[in-house]
């Protein structure tokens, strides 16, 4: 029963990882940018919600109404003044720029809020600890379940948006061929700006989820970036449902690791990430080798 509970907790934790990974995966697939400031943006959104709750008494759920549009606006500024300018200098410069930006965000937050850890849980009343007991001895945290459902809804919504709307199709076309979209009348610059704004809204939701279910501090962005990266890579970058799967695999691995050993939480997650990475490389090479053998036999 303990194992079932751990796996269930891992699946629900995977919902959070899918939330934080989807923005990273979205930006990489559309613009080819690896945003190293991704985790720091999530923490920034968490602090914004905390400030609204602590000083203005606005519940974090209502605070999202203010913070998410602000994150979208930040995405527009981020795209126009950082990514667009730095991408003119090649592939590496945007990566370095976002790395520098993450250091700036972390240190500005540290300067203003200090090193103390904070959480939005105290502002959620009993939602932060309330749970269901679907099976005897197996408890499901209501907040974790809602976050998992939010992840499914967000990924499903993004999937529908990309496949059913004109803007979604334009984003997919821009991701496929940035230069050719101009030849059908699409402004690739505007599309990239919309995509970044959408990505930062998802980061804002992920930051809220993190701050509600756990604690955060100014330097918590780095580990969140690593979890997002691992979930995106396990699930396959560019695939939204793959991102959910990647998040769940990472979450379950961490939960099982924690059950095996108190130090095993992070190690198990990283181990699964490495195994998937090696397996992909190995199977990729094997399939290439097989293809080469078949081709050489066919050509005689």
């Amino acid at each position: 029963m303990i194992w079932a509970a751990q796996i269930l907790q891992g699946v629900l934790l995977g919902g959070y990882y899918a939330l934080i990974a989807c923005g990273l995966s979205f930006m990489f697939s559309v613009m080819g940018v690896i945003n190293l400031a991704h985790g720091s943006f999530a923490i920034l959104a968490a602090f914004a919600l905390w400030v609204l709750a602590e000083y203005l008494g606005i519940s974090p759920l209502y605070g999202l109404v203010v913070v998410l549009p602000a994150m979208a606006l930040l995405g527009v500024v981020f795209q126009r003044f950082v990514l667009e300018r730095s991408s003119r200098a090649g592939f590496l410069i945007p990566v370095l720029s976002t790395f520098g930006l993450s250091i700036c965000i972390d240190n500005i937050l540290f300067q203003h809020f200090g090193a103390d850890t904070r959480s939005l849980a105290p502002f959620l009343d009993d939602l932060s600890y309330d749970s269901w007991e679907p099976l005897g001895g197996v408890f499901v945290g209501k907040l974790s379940a809602y976050i998992f459902l939010a992840a499914v809804a967000l990924l499903g919504g993004l999937q529908l948006f990309l496949s059913r709307t004109f803007l979604g199709r334009a984003i997919r076309a821009t991701a496929a061929d940035h230069d050719t979209v101009g030849l059908v009348g699409i402004d690739a610059r505007a599309i990239n700006t919309y995509a970044t704004a959408i990505a930062l809204v998802t980061v804002g939701i992920a930051g809220a989820a993190l701050a509600m279910r756990a604690t955060f501090s100014p330097y918590a962005g780095g580990p969140q970036l690593i979890f997002a990266f691992e979930a995106a890579v396990i699930g396959g970058t560019g695939s939204l449902w793959g991102t959910l799967l990647g998040g769940v695999v990472l979450g379950v691995a961490q939960s099982i690791g924690a059950q095996l050993n108190p130090q095993g939480f992070l190690i198990a997650g990283h181990a699964v990430f490495l195994i998937v990475l090696v397996a992909r490389t190995l199977f990729g090479r094997l399939s290439d080798l097989l293809l080469a053998l078949l081709t050489s036999k066919a050509t005689g």
Binding site: R169, R172, A173, G182, L183, V184, G185, D187
Partner: protein, 243 residues
Amino acid sequence: MTLLSVRDLEVRHGLLRAVRGVSFEIAKGETVAFVGANGAGKTTLLRSIAGAHLPVGGSIAFAGADVTHVPAYLRVRSGIALVPEGRRLFADLSVTENLLLGRAARSRGPWTFDTVMDALPQLRPIHNSLAKNLSGGQQQAVAIGRALMTNPSLLLLDEISLGLSPVAVDGVYAAIRKLIAMGTTIVLVEQNLDRAVAVADRLICMLEGSVVLQGRSGGLERARITEAYFGLAASASPAGAHV
């Protein structure tokens, strides 16, 4: 009435002068074919008109307005559509999705999803297929349809028969003849001289970035075109001989 006017156009690829002082005019409703060997500068010229390459000198005027430095997406909205060499379809989008992207031009005109399907009926049974799964001829039809969806006043067709089977080329040219009959102004780049002569009102021959010969399709002798095409004739002057 002049629809497109190109004056002393200079386009570079790095240090290479791909287009050198090219000038010509195209009237509304006219079909003009650019011919020439590989590397003559035809594709670069067409891409410059569409806004995919910015020139370093000269000017491009479309419907009376200077569009020399206007970005490609705004040129599409003003009525210039390019069917690029190699089709450049969005491979993971369906035929329908590729066509509907043409609505980004926000221009009004006779071309809608239904009228494009009527003009290119081979697309109807495959409208849900992904572009990457289509044959070369089908992909070319989608590329033409996508350009038509922008309701262009000027349609630029770049090497549309390249890599296609003779049957597929016949199908594509049948569609072009329909467009010509509807009064669409067309500029095409074509290496197949017979095809070009058969559909174009006027032929412009390029060599090493310059116009070396131009005239009415029926008024140019085949031998003279061939000489200009390969740069064999002394008469093929850089200024461009008119017939």
